[in-house]
């Protein structure tokens, strides 16, 4: 069970989080159909670092973008995504 350091809550157990999708799968509203479907159905799926979107579902509920190594699970970067917030 990974220990994930949420930018808002500090280190928390993986079970408080949900993995949602990869960054490369995100479809922006208004994207042209061909581009949208290409992103939706194509994954880089590297055997190494990848950018992923997680959510601290059972904590602060914030959406997070993190870089995780798919083999070692090491999380090398993590940041919150969302509306501008007070400290």
């Amino acid at each position: 069970m990974l220990l994930i350091t949420c930018p808002h809550c500090g280190p928390r157990a993986q079970t408080e989080f949900s993995y949602e999708r990869t960054v490369d799968s995100v479809v922006q509203p208004g994207a042209a159909p061909a581009e949208a479907m290409a992103r939706l159905f194509t994954r880089a799926n590297p055997r190494g670092l990848d950018d992923e979107i997680w959510r601290h579902t059972f904590g602060c509920r914030a959406w997070l973008v993190l870089t995780r190594h798919r083999m070692t699970h090491a999380i090398t970067a993590i940041r919150a995504a969302g509306p501008e917030a007070l400290p």
């Binding site: 479907m37 959406w63 070692t72 509306p83």
Partner: protein, 923 residues
């Protein structure tokens, strides 16, 4: 038998073994108590049913497996060395019939040549029929204990713990490390699998006074450290999470506090492994005979338990530690008839024992299932001794299991001790004490008869089997393991892996570290399933989500229906009605008078802010912005790929405040989706989305007299269809939304959940007064199927587009909603897609979930999503998905369910059977 004996009082703890009433002293393990009672034969081996005794004193014991406890508390395959006797304990041996002493299975030992390693694999070649025949016997012949069939009456619990330092093992090294950390002000946790602190000091008090251990533990406790005995660190996971299993009762023992075991999830800043080292047996013919034991184990029995396991002792070893055993035995009154030292040169302190150098045991002989004679090769010659105990030591293996489980961990080969020592690791873990280094050993000559020299005692694997695997072409250590099954038993090769590796390396012609290692996997020692399951009170694990009005419904004894984690009333049978009768009565009540139902579980979101419409028109594929204040509409939502995944309603409650409702089953999914859109895709929007699913309880009142019922309740004009008003019922503020799922004039009343009961009661009184009744999910199905109203998870199964569901006219022509891009794909408008249809039975009853075929035997072109009978008339109807369904109205098909042997002839029709003009719910 000659052999084990204990002087002094017999002990006051009563237990039975194989039905025999025996006594034990407090602190005895079952193994110690059996030895003290002169019982040396305790088991029959897995495959050959060879008589086996107790070999070790700890968790590495491969032979002495027993079943302990009764009924649901029974625990098979329990090591007698890892089980502390309690009053009333019932233990029995395993894998023998009719008895341990006279086991019919021992004939298999005679057939051993036909049953080497890999024989089972070879049985798969040849006739399947023959295999089924001898499989029956194999199943019965081999094995360990039987799993209990009764439910476990005990509870298990799981708990988290955090510490700066987790120390595994409360021996001298572990206690010292824990004390140092506690004195440095760190949060310390110390776990020890044994029942006492520092068992090695009890065994060898010459090293250090055991009283030191108690004093140190007390000091650690004073400094706030947490010490748990009878607690095993079972698994080492990511980011220094260690799963730790704590025994609050012995296996089979009724727990005092109701909880048998506790699983700790420990998150440690750093981990110190003081897990010690395990002794290795020596490999020689018939080294598995009762009376052949590990040397340090013998010392433990003598010093800790006061049991002398034999009178005439031969000691065989390749190291100095065995001489301590010789001393302990001599001090306890046993006679050391020979010390067989494999090393060519005499060791330091031989202290008057009859030592033979350059000596290696050859074989043992026995009588009445116990050791009687030991033969050895001494400097080339063969010698024999009469003996009832052979204490052997092939050196020590540091316990590196947790270190290796930590991942990215290395082992370093130490030639002097012929063992692997923990090296670096990716996680913050360090090994101390004998887990980090052990004493050097001398040579270990290979056995002259490898076929009877056992290395994996529990799986009955000999050194000859290793040779056989090699001869049959299995080269890698992974293949060796799986072909012979060595290291795969419940002891996970604790006393066998090194010997096998040594032999393999020899065959491969490499040094041992190059032969490779198999993977170390949790748990370190077996963990009972109940511990992993956790709480055993709930059925099937998941929490029940209770309606706010649960007690109100329960009082009416409805038939409950599980829906995800919820339970909703399916029907309220009266006067002996069955489900179908109750549901029909309830549905008719709605059609002819009025009915009332609980719709609280619907997903509900309050969306407020100037950008509310912008958000809603992204998520919903219909317009939303055209709604006037106080008006609502039906809507549906698409996935990014254009397929419909949910539907619901949206209401404009105020200028910048909307209520979105959607399906119960998709509620959590919709919450995530809305959050994703709002927070991640569009963080700049001025909008707030709040999940109010549980804040509001919902009551639907539907029927031709519903309007009158509502008017009476709220005392004012009722909203027209698809309008919303705020009102008051029984003194509580409510929202009344005029929407109809049933097809009759209907209202959904939303009240704050904490105020729902008086509102419900008022509604029920009013409904009953009008001759109406409650209705449940089953009746709701009848009603909505007649109307062709969709259910998410039924007609809406994530594979149909709005066009397939005949919803495309409602699509927001401005586009821009999520899914618009997906809809543009040509495949989603191509012919041959499944489309929503209605079905009416030509004869018979349409089976739900049936396939739609042109004729029996033809491939399915669709399926029935929901089936029911008409409410006011007779006749079986259904909704379904059918390839090119829109163009096939009038066609006759068969709805067939081969698995239930049900079929009905059906006609494809439009998916509405009642009030197609929609006049019933408009004023």
């Amino acid at each position: 038998m000659n052999g084990p004996r204990r002087g002094g009082a017999a002990g006051a703890i009563r237990f039975t073994f194989d039905g025999r009433a025996l006594l034990a002293r407090p602190g005895d393990t079952l193994a110690a108590a059996l030895l003290a009672n002169g019982i040396g034969l305790v088991a029959r081996s897995f495959k050959y049913h060879r008589p086996r005794g107790i070999m070790a004193a700890g968790v590495e014991e491969p032979n002495a497996l027993v079943t302990v406890g009764a009924g649901g508390r029974e625990e098979p395959n329990t090591r007698a060395t890892d089980l502390f006797v309690y009053d009333g304990m019932v233990a029995r041996s395993q894998n023998r019939w009719p008895s341990l002493a006279f086991d019919a299975g021992s004939v298999l030992g005679l057939a051993a040549k036909a049953l080497p390693a890999g024989f089972y694999y070879k049985t798969f070649f040849g006739s399947a029929k023959r295999w089924m025949f001898y499989e029956w016997f194999i199943r019965r012949a081999a094995g360990l204990g039987d799993a209990p069939t009764a439910a476990d009456p005990d509870r298990f619990t799981q708990r988290a713990a955090f510490c700066d330092v987790l120390v595994v093992g409360a021996g001298p090294a572990g206690l010292s490390a824990a004390l140092a950390a506690a004195e440095a002000g760190e949060r310390v946790m110390l776990v020890e699998q044994d029942r006492i602190l520092a068992p090695s000091l009890v065994r060898d008090p010459q090293d250090l006074d055991p009283a030191w251990a108690e004093a140190t533990a007390a000091r650690i406790g004073e400094l706030g450290g947490r010490i748990l005995l009878r607690t095993t660190a079972a698994g080492y996971w990511d980011d220094n999470l260690i799963t730790v299993s704590q025994r609050l009762a012995e296996p089979g023992e009724p727990p005092a506090g109701g909880i048998a075991q506790r699983l700790w999830h420990v998150r440690a800043g750093r981990v110190i492994l003081a897990t010690g080292a395990l002794e290795r047996p020596l490999a020689f013919a018939h080294n598995d005979r009762p009376g052949v034991m590990l040397s340090q184990a013998v010392r433990t029995y003598v010093r800790r338990f006061g049991v002398v396991p034999g009178r005439r002792v031969v000691i065989a070893a390749n190291n100095d530690d065995a001489y301590l055993t010789a001393t302990a035995l001599r001090d306890a009154g046993a006679e050391i008839v020979a010390v067989l030292d494999t090393r060519p040169v005499p060791a330091g302190a031989t202290s008057g024992f009859p030592v033979h150098n350059d000596a290696m045991p050859l074989a043992t002989k026995g009588a009445r299932h116990h050791l009687r004679e030991v033969s050895a090769r001494v400097g080339g010659k063969v010698m024999h001794w009469r003996a009832d105990l052979l204490a052997m030591s092939g050196g020590f293996t540091p316990v590196v299991h947790l270190h290796m489980q930590a991942g990215g961990a290395a082992l370093e080969w130490d030639d002097a001790s012929q063992s692997f020592l923990p090296g670096g690791a990716r996680q913050n873990v360090v090994s101390v004490g004998s887990a980090a280094s052990v004493a050097p050993v001398g040579p270990t000559p290979p056995p002259e008869n490898p076929g009877k020299a056992f290395i994996d005692f529990q799986n009955d694997v000999s050194l000859g089997d290793v040779d056989l695997a090699w001869a049959e072409g299995y080269r890698s250590v992974e293949h060796l393991k799986r072909y012979t099954t060595l290291g795969m038993a419940t002891d996970q090769g604790k006393t066998s892996n090194m010997a096998a590796l040594g032999r393999l390396a020899e065959k491969q012609g490499v040094a041992i570290p190059e032969a490779g290692l198999t993977t170390f996997r949790p748990p370190y020692t077996p963990v009972t399933m109940g511990l992993l399951a956790g709480r055993t009170e709930r059925d099937a694990g998941a929490h029940l989500r209770r309606l706010a009005l649960f007690d109100v419904h329960q009082a009416k004894t409805p038939i409950w229906q599980p829906l995800g984690y919820w339970k909703r009333p399916r029907a309220y049978p009266q006067g002996g009605e069955n489900l179908a009768e109750a549901a029909l009565r309830e549905a008719r009540s709605v059609r002819t008078a009025v009915g009332m139902t609980d719709v609280s579980t619907l997903a509900k979101f309050e969306v407020s802010g100037p950008d509310a419409v912008q958000l809603l028109e992204l998520v919903c594929a219909t317009t939303v912005g055209k709604l006037a204040v106080g008006r609502g509409r039906y809507t549906f939502m698409l996935r990014e790929d254009g397929l419909v995944f949910d539907d619901g309603t949206v209401w404009r409650l105020a200028e910048n405040r909307y209520l979105l409702t959607s399906s119960t089953g998709g509620a959590d999914r919709m919450a995530v989706h809305l959050s994703y859109v709002r927070q991640f895709l569009c963080p700049q929007l001025k909008v707030s989305v709040v999940n109010v699913q549980e804040h509001y309880a919902g009551i639907a009142v539907a029927g031709p007299t519903a309007k009158a019922v509502l008017a009476g309740l709220i005392g004012e004009e009722v909203p027209r269809h698809m309008s919303a008003v705020g009102a008051s019922i029984a003194g509580s503020p409510v929202m009344v939304l005029a929407a109809s799922y049933s097809g009759e004039r209907a209202f959904e009343i939303y009240a704050e959940a904490s105020l729902a009961e008086p509102v419900w009661n008022a509604c029920e009184a009013a409904v009953t007064a009008q001759g109406g009744s409650l209705y449940g999910m089953e009746a709701m199905e009848f009603l909505r199927i007649e109307k062709g109203h969709l259910v998410v998870g039924g007609e809406v199964d994530g594979r149909l587009t709005p066009h397939d569901l005949a919803l495309d006219k409602m699509l927001n022509k401005a586009g821009g909603y999520i899914g618009a891009a997906g809809l543009a794909r040509p495949g989603l408008t191509a012919p041959g897609r499944k489309q929503l249809v209605g079905l009416e039975a030509i004869a018979g009853t349409i089976p739900e979930g049936a396939m739609l075929v042109t004729a029996l035997g033809q491939p399915a072109g669709g399926h029935v999503t929901a089936a029911a009978r008409r409410v006011l008339e007779s006749g079986s109807i259904a909704l379904g998905q059918l390839v090119d369904g829109f163009a096939r109205h009038g066609e006759e098909l068969v709805a067939t369910s081969p698995t239930r042997s049900q079929s009905a002839a059906v006609r494809v029709v439009a998916p509405h059977f009642y009030d197609t003009a929609g006049e019933r719910y408009r004023d």
